[in-house]
């Protein structure tokens, strides 16, 4: 590991950047899959009982998508950190932030999908409480926002080693 070249360190750091998108997309898939299946089932119940099918279920099913956008933001920032002058020396950190942030966002999307599935069932049955349900989803979304923002704060504390800066100047 000590014999690693500069290029290898950049590459591993960039791979870490993509890990955030990878883990977040797995979670979003699980979330949208679970919520989507619930929405389809709830619509089926509506059609069987000759009730109008509420369009709002599509909104619930689509909520776990936002975590991938947060992951994209993280990917861009980590990639920028790796590619800046001397940034390759922080490859361990970039890899760790990419993986952990991705897992945080992914698990959030997954459980948001479970909550959204319940929202679909509830709203299709009662046709009431759309904003209340969305509020709960919003609370869960806040966790994902926290994961991203706190990772960005930590990322901004990482500085290029002074000696490298001096050489560049």
């Amino acid at each position: 590991m000590l014999n690693m070249t500069q290029q290898t360190m950049i590459e591993i750091g960039q791979a870490g950047a993509f890990m955030s998108v990878f883990f977040a997309s797995i979670g979003s898939t699980l979330g949208t899959g679970i919520a989507g299946a619930a929405a389809v089932g709830a619509w089926k119940k509506c059609y069987s009982q000759e009730k109008p099918a509420p369009f709002q279920l599509a909104i619930f099913a689509g909520t776990p998508l936002s975590q991938i956008i947060y992951a994209l933001i993280m990917m861009i920032l980590i990639n920028k950190k790796v590619l800046e002058v001397g940034g390759f020396q922080n490859w361990h950190f970039c890899l760790a932030v990419g993986i952990l942030c991705g897992i945080g966002l992914g698990v959030n999307a997954w459980f948001m999908g479970i909550a959204a599935a319940k929202c679909c069932d509830s709203f299709a049955d009662t046709n009431k409480g759309f904003t209340n349900n969305l509020m709960v989803i919003g609370i869960m979304e806040t966790v994902a926002l926290f994961v991203m923002v706190f990772a960005i704060i930590l990322l901004n504390t990482v500085k290029v080693p002074g000696i490298v800066e001096a050489v560049v100047k």
Binding site: E11, A15, V21, I26, L30, I34, G41, I68
Partner: protein
């Protein structure tokens, strides 16, 4: 590491993108397909016309394999442009992107199975069901596009 080994590893990563998304597409179409067959069987048993649209729900998880192919082509182009030394990035994007798209196809199949069951029974809500499949599809699109964004940051 010599140049040939780096090219080989980079290209292996490129193929992982299509292979892993194809695995997910197989699982997804398999799940949705068996559901469509069961739903059609119910229609025949009850003497109702079997809706052709179930084939659309069943084939939805196939698109991820195409996204895998696009990612594979772009990675191979990068390698041919002389960026073979970046093979760990290509391997990571290929494997991680492939798994992400494959999982999307898998769960799209699960939602598609529900859509088949629902549409065969009620004959209503085709566009609503398709919209849900579109939402799950978006995850795969995101995984592909963001992989391309990272690929484009690699300068040869």
């Amino acid at each position: 590491m010599d140049q040939e080994t780096m090219i080989a590893l980079g290209k292996s990563g490129a193929y992982c993108a299509i292979a892993l998304s194809a695995v997910g597409s197989s699982i997804g179409t398999g799940i949705a397909g068996t559901s469509a067959l069961g739903a059609w069987k119910k229609c025949y048993v009850y003497g109702r016309p079997p809706p052709f649209q179930l084939a659309v729900f069943t084939s939805a998880p196939m698109s991820q394999t195409i996204y895998g192919m696009i990612l594979m082509t772009l990675i191979v182009n990068k390698i041919q442009d002389g960026a073979a030394a970046y093979w760990p990035v290509f391997l990571a994007i290929g494997i991680a992107g492939g798994i992400a798209m494959g999982t999307s196809a898998w769960f799209q199949g699960v939602a598609g199975a529900g859509a088949c069951d629902s549409f065969a029974e009620t004959n209503k809500g085709f566009t609503n069901n398709l919209m849900i499949l579109g939402i799950v599809e978006t995850v795969a699109l995101f995984a592909m596009v963001f992989g391309i964004v990272l690929l484009n940051s690699i300068k040869t």
